[in-house]
Amino acid sequence: MSLFAQGHTACAGCGMPIAVKLVLEGSGENSIVVSPTGCLEVTSTRYPQSAWGVPWIHSLFENAAAVASGIETALKVKGKKVNVLVIGGDGATVDIGVRALSGMFERGHNVTYICYDNEAYMNTGVQRSGSTPYGASATTSPAGKLSFGEDRPKKDIPAIAAAHGIPYVATASVGYPKDIVKKVKKAQEIVGPKYIQILTPCPTGWRFDGSKTIKLAKLAVETALFPVYEIENGEITKVKKIKERKPVEEYLKLQGRFKHLFKKNKDRIEVIQKMADSNAEKFGLDG
């Protein structure tokens, strides 16, 4: 049994608990986790219960990175070696907590920040976040007569993290479990701030059958819409190559949040394909 217990109340087929158990497998028992508000917090710690097998603390939505910075500093003063992690959603990471995250990177705290990226505020009812991809329909970017859904591209937080000059930035997807464990282990061996963003499909918000979570987590990578790579000290050091890149339609058509694109917004699919092509070129994914 892992360090994340059964009986949590995440939706059936949720990608997030898969990511969490793999992160804890990589980090091990000697860890302290901070989680901001989000799906993970509400589904793992419904008072008076907790799913966590390691010490865990809930911060505010906006200050998980600051709370982790404080824990790391206190442990340093006490001379204790413990892995300090944040595991937070994309809303808390790329929007609400980005100031605290930037501060943590700037001050150089020895913390591993994990963002489970389900591409919207799922806990509160699928409101768009900075991480919501172009063309997706969310409750605050609804597709309709006058809108094709989210009209801005997904915010590139890994690039923003790397721009802080931190030693390790990586992306991963729950479709590739060993890769997640490996990257977390690697991050724990590096001293300084680390940032790992893991794509965790959300059956409720993306509107697909919960059994297809892993399939979608792989398709996002195989279409180059979610490139998987590592950046060490500002340099791209490793990318997950794609043997035969799939057209973005294969990924989009399985999800209700992109359904409208196939009806009268086909030109938007071409825009999304261009984004995938540009990712493939930027990271050298084909091959």
């Binding site: 009986g7 059936a12 898969i18 219960q49 892993i214 399939k215």
Partner: protein
């Protein structure tokens, strides 16, 4: 209920929530087809699939929400989702 300072609670106490009650479809494992790879166990969001002494996997139906990821991902097609009749 007595509140502890900071709202402290004990670890792994969610196990009292028998989330198996959420289930509509139940995964049925076929040991004749199973190749013992463990992919079902890796991907189970409930982490409720355990391994026996013969390396066969068994879901804990107290917690299985019936998402069907195990059946979808099983490379040997050894797991079938069946509609579960309830009383």
């Amino acid at each position: 209920m007595k509140l502890l300072p900071g709202g402290i609670v004990k670890p792994k106490t969610t196990v009292v929530n028998k989330t198996g009650a959420w289930r509509t479809f139940i995964p049925v494992f076929d040991e004749d087809k199973c190749k013992k790879c463990g992919i079902c166990e890796t991907f189970c969001p409930e982490d409720c699939i355990s391994i026996d002494e013969n390396e066969f996997r068994h879901p804990d139906y107290d917690f299985c929400k019936g998402c069907g990821i195990c059946a979808e991902e099983c490379p040997a097609d050894a797991i079938e989702m069946k509609y579960e009749e309830k009383e």
